[in-house]
Amino acid sequence: METLIGLLVAAPLLGAGVLLTGGKRLDRVGHWIGTLLALLSFVFGAVLFTNMLGKDADARTLNSHLFTWVPVDGFQADVGFQLDQLSMTFVLLITGVGTLIHIYSIGYMAHDERRRRFFGYLNLFLAAMLLLVVADNYFLLYAGWEGVGLASYLLIGFWQHKPSAATAAKKAFIVNRVGDIGLSVAIMLMFTTFGSFAFNQVLPQAQQASTTQHATITGIGFMLLLAACGKSAQVPLQSWLGDAMEGPTPVSALIHAATMVTAGVYLITRSGAIFNAAPDAQTAVVTVGAVTLLFGAIVGCAKDDIKKALAGSTMSQIGYMIMAAGLGPIGYVFAIMHLVTHGFFKAGLFLGAGSVMHGMNDEVDMRRYGGLRKYMPVTFVTFGLGYLAIIGFPGLSGFFSKDKIIEAAFAKGGTEGWILGGAALLGAAITAFYMTRVMLMTFFGEKRWQPDAEGHEPHPHESPSSMTIPMIILAFGSVFAGAFFSINDRFLKWLEPVTGHSEGDSPVSAGTVTGATMVCLVVGVGIAWLIYGRRPVPAVAPRGSLATRAARRDLYQDDFNHVVLVRGGEHLTRSLVYLDHSLVDGVVNGTAASVGGLSGRLRKLQNGYVRSYAVSMLGGTAVLVAATLLMRAV
């Protein structure tokens, strides 16, 4: 069984290797190879899962040590895998949703001549993400972490002939690097403090050392949070996510649902012991989560680009998860549960958006959609189910998982609990608003279609079955996953041995929270219907209020980065260059000039007159003789 864990990672890695080095002769079968290997990985995952289910809850962890990567005295970095319930959940999500996205891409990328390469990158993405979640130490996790960053760069910039895509890829990579610094510093701190990278060494020690080395552990917590912010697009490192929509739509689905942005949530949940020992770091985590969930939701309200609206919603939903993970043992399980249900409905929504774009000549502006429900019935139904799930319609999966997070936020207790719970409720209302807006603008109302740049009238049609079947499967997940997980607290019991769980004492009852959530839901949907359902949607975006314009510009996040970081960086480099020119070069040039001046003076002694040379010789000899005599006298 242990070998299967290695094969799980190796299958997509093999696919990436074969597809990226195989050359053109694989063009005709490349997508099948990629999809089959992703499927194979899923099968391995499923086998491991059934095997795991057959064991006792406490004996489910599988360990497999492959070899020692860096065998230096006192510094042992191992390549080893650890598959517990938490990793297993991620493995199934990554390979399952990943495989569906592979299948979808066969149809979506059918007309792209670089499809083989695309599948190679997709496989690389899966392999890196799988490595990240099954690693048994932080060092190997870091390798997967960087692999994810690389694969996302390659995929976001897949249409590299578009300057905007190339820029977006660079932006994603650079912002991620900022987060990566956090992870590497955290790992270094762990090594100096605990002398190891392995989860089973670091985490128990962190718990014991919470009083003696409080400052260090808090530092590690903050650095891990920075890392999570980078990968999971949380404030303040969120700016790359919107631009990452430049990649092909399946990539967005993969990044937002199965891989990449979930890595931050995984990291925080996995490092739960560290955060439990560092309450200050936990407070920072919930703050980041709460701010991001509102930030993303507000941005999502104003975007006319369907993918960017969904990107805002991802940011917001990941904010919910980060917030839940920051709540400590009250929230870990629900963070992961929301992550899984979100994986279903967000992948479904993105694939639906891709299907709409596929039928509309790659138009992304929702103001040019309208009335598509008759032309794309399957997309409409699957997208609609995803929509109901994300806003938390009773009975669908988002309802169960989001409700639990809101309850957990209140259960934090005290003023903090009220603030977090309030933010989560407000976020739920805004989510209902902007998702309803997306739904109404895309599928309802009158047609606002416009010919594209070459003058082709759009002829919306249903997408091929390779695209609709994954959407249908994901729609099933969106509908039933939440209920399946919640009956008898199934998910809680499954994950509890790994993450631990405690019930907080909530000041409000679960029923009240559910009621409040429903009120928020109805208010959000109602407002959206008043604005976008009852009245026709203008085909050209109106100027909008100050708040709308701010949200359209991502609440000035890029402007902020530009003013503070880019300008600040420029000023810093300019002053450093000035310092370099004046001080460093001054010393160097001054030395050279003084040596030059001195030799200019000395040069004059070489006048070519024999007699003056004779004087210097005589003088020199006289001095030598005098010195000799003097020495003798002394």
């Binding site: 070519g608 007159y609 024999v610 007699r611 004779a614």
Partner: protein, 99 residues
């Protein structure tokens, strides 16, 4: 006779030679002054040889003569060739490596 007198004479001759080298312009005269200095040294060597009662000083005097003879050969050849090219034997005229 007091051997110190020879040393005085040697010092006097050396001084005259050195002064001649420094102040005269004619290369031949400068050359002669160099010879004068060498011979002043020889005189001092021989005197010291006598004073100390060994032959070391005399041996060195012979060495000096050999070197001086060789130097005369080379030096005169140089002076002659300089005179031929510049039509002057002044050391101040020959202040450049080129003509």
């Amino acid at each position: 006779m007091n051997p110190a007198n020879y040393l005085y004479l040697s010092a006097l001759l050396f001084t005259i030679g050195a002064a001649g080298v420094l102040i005269r312009r004619n290369a031949i005269v400068v050359f002669m002054c160099v010879e004068l200095m060498l011979n002043a040294c020889n005189l001092a060597f021989v005197t010291f040889s006598r004073l100390h009662g060994n032959l070391d000083g005399q041996v060195i005097a012979f060495f000096t003569m050999v070197v001086a003879a060789a130097e005369v050969v080379v030096g005169l050849a140089i002076i002659v060739s300089i005179f031929r090219s510049r039509h002057s034997a002044s050391v101040d005229d020959a202040n450049l490596m080129k003509l």
